[in-house]
Symmetry: C2
Subunit: 126 residues, 2 copies
């Protein structure tokens, strides 16, 4: 349970996004059992990776997100979501900044099994 739950305050996506400007660093805004809701700003290309242990949900708040797969891609706008199944290689791409919500188990790394220099801290709250 997060502080917002105890104080009966809504969690407002725009308010949370206004608190930071850096890209590729997800911020946790809520927990649901052992899952977390994270907001993140991304722009440009990410790296190919997969999450061997978990599916990963993307909900776009602003902008246009393309998720590339080895054999195709899906493009999401505001009000759209997609679930990348566990073990499926994917690479997010945003031609201009995308603001989005991720839902995944606590501790899930942004780079999955790939690791490397693009790996962000996985439990930064805002």
């Amino acid at each position: 349970m997060n502080l917002s739950s105890r104080t009966y305050a809504p969690i407002n996506f725009a308010d949370k996004l206004a608190k930071f400007a850096d890209q590729w660093q997800p911020r946790v805004i809520a927990e649901l059992n052992d899952y977390q809701f994270k907001i993140v700003r991304i722009e440009g290309d990410f790296i190919w990776h997969d999450h061997p242990e978990t599916d990963e949900a993307f909900i776009v708040l602003e902008g246009t997100l393309r998720i590339d797969f080895r054999e195709g891609s899906v493009t999401l706008g505001p009000g759209e979501m997609y679930v990348v199944p566990k073990g499926v290689e994917h690479k997010p791409f945003a031609a201009s900044e995308v603001k989005m919500l991720l839902i995944e188990p606590a501790g899930t790394l942004n780079t999955g099994q790939a690791g490397g220099e693009r790996t962000a801290a996985s439990d930064v709250w805002i």
Copy 2:
């Protein structure tokens, strides 16, 4: 994994909502491991209930949702979310129709431990 994942089609909330008009019957639109994303239209008062085994996430898409607790309430508009902790009694209320997204474990009943005539089927896909 749902069909949309395999076909690389985004899941569009407005498109899914346009497929039904009845209230208080959640429809599953996506799965994330053993969790489900459900969309639902609600209007008026629900019943007091809790979910002894799980937290429950609400994201408002359209309208104004009030969630009453025994000692307070939280009001959510579009772009806002709230997580009701497991075991906490709550009662959703909407003065006019609210369209919202629920995220909770598959099999979670809308009436929780309370049961009764307002209990909806828990695994209706759209």
